[in-house]
Symmetry: C2
Subunit: 225 residues, 2 copies
């Protein structure tokens, strides 16, 4: 693999073994790159709010990086050789390092040397890297959270409505997968301009799951062309 | 295939060639079942609001069915041998009958004879049938629309935020697919109780895409455990 022709790091110390740190450490171990002593890269996989504090306790010398989506490089204050690499993936404990494969990775780097190393690390991990400006990380991460966390919310709301009607929630899966595979081409009542059906939906939601009414309205509002 | 051992219908007349009618007619033609004369089933694939009128123009005799998600059987007034079969799938013109394969189909039937025929037709079309009560169709269809149309809305909103940050929108695809494959296990800031990040998201959205602020709030509100 081309990214191993010239190793940019020979040993990576991973701090933190949460969902992301666990998968990343396992992948680096597979590559023979994980190790705690003599590391030339320290990779912070700790909660966002702990990054600055943990970073301060690391003596300058090795490269340092964090994997947070929304955190700016300023959290790595005191270190000049630094970057951010956020795996754009939902990582769970019941999966291993293979869950990094094919996901994208958001790189924030202040110079070419940092960017080169961040891209190399992304390749090692199985991620496809792209650049994100330091001051744009929060907007980027808001989009990522919408796409994943709120997809869960959307499914749960839709599943409740199906189950209230006696239908199996799993019937939604081929529908949702195909919506993605179709490049998010809009179909259904709003695409047809069929507002009578939208009104009927709202009346049914009002009866069966009134707490979902505001959510349906906000989504319908945002769906209009 | 077991559903062909005893044909319940020998000829199906499909009225309407929209996204759904086109795919359904093509599938029935593949099965040698499509035909306009001497049909023992008339399948209405017309807009919801046209179903009652088109139904009234059909002389009683053959079975009659509609494929609408939200429409009740009363729209087929004057016909006693009737049922509803809604393909729970987003159907587009650039795909053919294969897009029905593996999707589920919502059956509303008033007796065993109708249910048996609806299930048989579902099998012919490639759909996995399940029952839905006549008075629950609208709630069921509201869930279906949330899962598909609002998934488009969610992606578009997330893509805008990524693009505002200079990130490629396609980077969301592995994330969204994995969210589904993970059984909609919630990860991200809300799952971690990280409200500081949620607040930072809202501030970034307020700056970069203020029209998405209400949507983000409604979704975050609905995501809380």
């Amino acid at each position: 693999m081309i990214y191993r022709l010239f190793d940019m790091f020979s040993r990576v110390k991973v701090i933190g073994r949460g969902r992301a740190g666990g998968a990343i450490h396992a992948r680096l171990a597979e590559r023979g790159l994980a190790g705690d002593t003599g590391a030339d890269l320290v990779l912070l996989c700790v909660p966002d709010l702990a990054i600055a504090e943990v970073s301060r306790r690391i003596a300058p010398g090795p490269w340092i990086a964090h994997i947070s989506g929304a955190t700016r490089l300023a959290a790595l204050e005191g270190h000049e050789r630094r970057f951010g690499l956020h795996p754009l993936q939902t990582l769970i404990r019941s999966r291993g390092p293979e869950q990094l494969d094919g996901a994208w990775g958001a790189v924030t780097a202040e110079n070419d040397a940092a960017r080169e190393r961040a891209y190399w690390l992304a390749g090692c991990l199985g991620l496809r890297p792209f650049d994100i400006r330091d001051d744009a990380r929060v907007a980027y991460h808001a989009g990522a959270a919408m796409a994943s966390s709120f997809l869960v919310t959307l499914y749960r709301a839709a599943a409740r409505l199906l189950e209230s009607a006696g239908a199996p929630a799993e019937a939604l899966l081929p529908l949702m997968r195909r919506t993605i595979d179709n490049g998010f081409e809009l179909t259904g009542p709003i695409a047809r301009g069929d507002w009578a059906t939208v009104d009927a939906h709202l009346a049914a939601i009002h009866r069966t799951a009134p707490d979902l009414e505001a959510l349906y309205r906000a989504l319908a509002q945002a769906t209009q062309p």
